[in-house]
């Protein structure tokens, strides 16, 4: 009974709680992986051990520079009485020292971003009726890179050379360092776009690139990862478990894909997909090659068995009633 109560409680909590998953997953020069679960920042060392490196920070994004200094923020709500938000930006130095880059401030970050190129320039999107893509150079100069009446622009990713990739509703765009804006794919959406965040229905969430500048998108509703390569044709490379959805990802030094996944109950995990697994794509496979078929057959057998047992019991009862009648 206790177990039943625990399961019921968990079920209710999972159904009631809301999620806005993070996308922060980065690697340092040694190959250690860092990711956010929106409450802590975890480190997965090369030996596979997991440790918390920054505790008590609600950060959706992470950035790590070439010196292995890790950056993130802490965002909080001041409650219904004040109805204000606050944030600070922290940096975990490669020495292990945790310092505040930006002191606690009211509101949201406006001219500071975790999408950066190798020069340390920051990029962000100002989402209004007329949206703007902005850049802040290391010297502090703020430049408007693009402006236009876009649809909803999702997360932004930046390559080392400063090429920006972002989604706008069902399209994938690239903004080159020379300011050239091009559409790489016009139809990245999947069959469903029910996932709703900030009042916008869209499916694509985290966005990242590989060494060959292929763009990867976590399709949060259809629980898959698509790749848009040079042929501009979206290709599904990975599907996720039904209760886990890929929110973001990145490639390690060996070409393995690390995906950041969020569960139905808002748990977060980082999962490694080896390059061999990626090459042997999981999208299409035969009904006979996985447990699906076996479980289906056993389920059918279970139904038939239960039906036979029920019939036997009922027949016994009928005989008993008949004997009583006689």
């Amino acid at each position: 009974m206790k177990k039943l109560l625990v399961i019921s409680y968990w079920l209710l909590v999972s159904l009631i709680s809301k999620g806005h998953p993070g996308i922060g997953i980065v690697r340092d020069t040694k190959g250690n992986i860092y990711y956010t679960d929106l409450a802590k920042v975890w480190k997965i060392s090369l030996d596979g051990s997991k440790t918390v490196v920054v505790n008590g920070v609600h950060t959706h994004e992470l950035y790590i520079d070439e010196h292995d200094n890790l950056y993130g923020e802490h965002l909080w709500y001041n409650g219904e009485s004040q109805k204000t938000w606050g944030f600070y930006v922290w940096c975990l130095k490669n020495t292990g020292q945790l310092v505040k880059e930006i002191d606690p401030t009211e509101g949201f970050r406006s001219d500071y971003s975790f999408a950066r190129d190798s020069m340390g320039n920051m990029y962000w999107v100002e989402r209004f009726t007329i949206s703007r893509i902005m850049k802040k150079t290391k010297s502090g100069e703020i430049i408007k890179l693009a402006e236009g009446k876009f649809g909803f622009i999702g997360w932004l990713t930046c390559t080392k050379n400063g090429s920006l990739y972002f989604t706008e509703n069902n399209k994938l765009h690239k903004l080159s360092p020379n300011g050239k804006l091009e559409t790489l794919a016009n139809n990245i959406g999947s069959k469903s776009t029910d996932f709703s965040l900030m009042g916008k229905n869209y499916d694509s969430y985290g966005i990242w690139t590989d060494a060959a500048d292929n763009v990867y998108l976590a399709m949060i509703d259809s629980k898959k990862v698509i790749r848009v390569g040079a042929d501009e044709n979206p290709q599904t490379i990975l599907t996720s478990n039904s209760l886990w959805t890929v929110c973001s990802g990145m490639f390690d030094n060996n070409g393995n894909l690390w995906v950041l996944e969020s569960s139905l109950s808002n748990e977060v995990r980082a999962r490694k997909i080896t390059k061999e697994e990626l090459a042997g794509n999981k999208t299409a496979s035969s009904f006979t090659t996985n447990p699906h078929l076996i479980v289906t057959i056993f389920t059918m057998a279970g139904i038939i068995f239960l039906f036979i047992v029920a019939k036997m019991i009922l027949n016994k009862r009928r005989q008993k009633l008949l004997r009583l009648a006689i």
């Binding site: 039943l4 399961i7 019921s8 079920l11 999972s14 159904l15 009631i16 709680s17 809301k18 999620g19 469903s192 029910d194 996932f195 709703s196 949060i220 509703d221 259809s222 629980k223 599907t239 478990n241 039904s242 209760l243 886990w244 959805t245 139905l264 496979s285 009904f287 996985n290 447990p291 699906h292 479980v295 289906t296 389920t299 059918m300 279970g302 139904i303 239960l306 039906f307 047992v309 029920a310 019991i313 009922l314 009862r317 009928r318 009633l321 008949l322 009648a325």
Partner: protein, 133 residues
């Protein structure tokens, strides 16, 4: 005994529909997927079985008699008695899970209710003539 059997039969039927529908419309499920669906549908059905099915069954067994049970029982259990479950599933669809999972859960619970209704209509028919005798 028949209550436990009807519960297990309903649950397995719901699971079967989830498995078959998932294969044809969504994707093949991994072992983790299947275990998750099985746990959630089992827990959900157990709760609604204890809170709603048994209570409704007691009422409809008295109110509806004869061959009509084969029509009304599946409808009542799959649609009316399952309403709280449908509400919970669709309420947070999109925020917590995609429409594909919500559809699978809904189909699973619909089938469970349908089979449960059919089972009790069948059981009543099997025993009714002898009870009359």
């Amino acid at each position: 005994m028949l209550y436990i059997l009807s519960f297990l039969l309903s649950w397995l039927s719901g699971m079967l529909v989830i498995l078959v529908t998932a294969f044809f419309s969504y994707d093949q499920l991994s072992m983790i997927d299947i275990a998750s669906f099985a746990t959630l549908t089992f827990a959900g059905l157990l709760i609604i079985f204890l809170l709603m099915y048994l209570f409704t069954l007691r009422i409809v067994n008295k109110k509806i008699v004869g061959a009509k049970q084969f029509i009304y029982f599946p409808i009542i259990f799959s649609l009316l008695t399952n309403l709280p479950v449908y509400f919970l599933i669709w309420k947070d669809m999109g925020d917590l899970y995609g429409s594909s999972e919500a559809t699978l859960f809904t189909l699973g619970f619909f089938t469970s209710g349908f089979v449960f209704g059919l089972f009790w209509a069948w059981k009543n028919k099997m025993l009714s003539q002898f009870k009359r005798v």
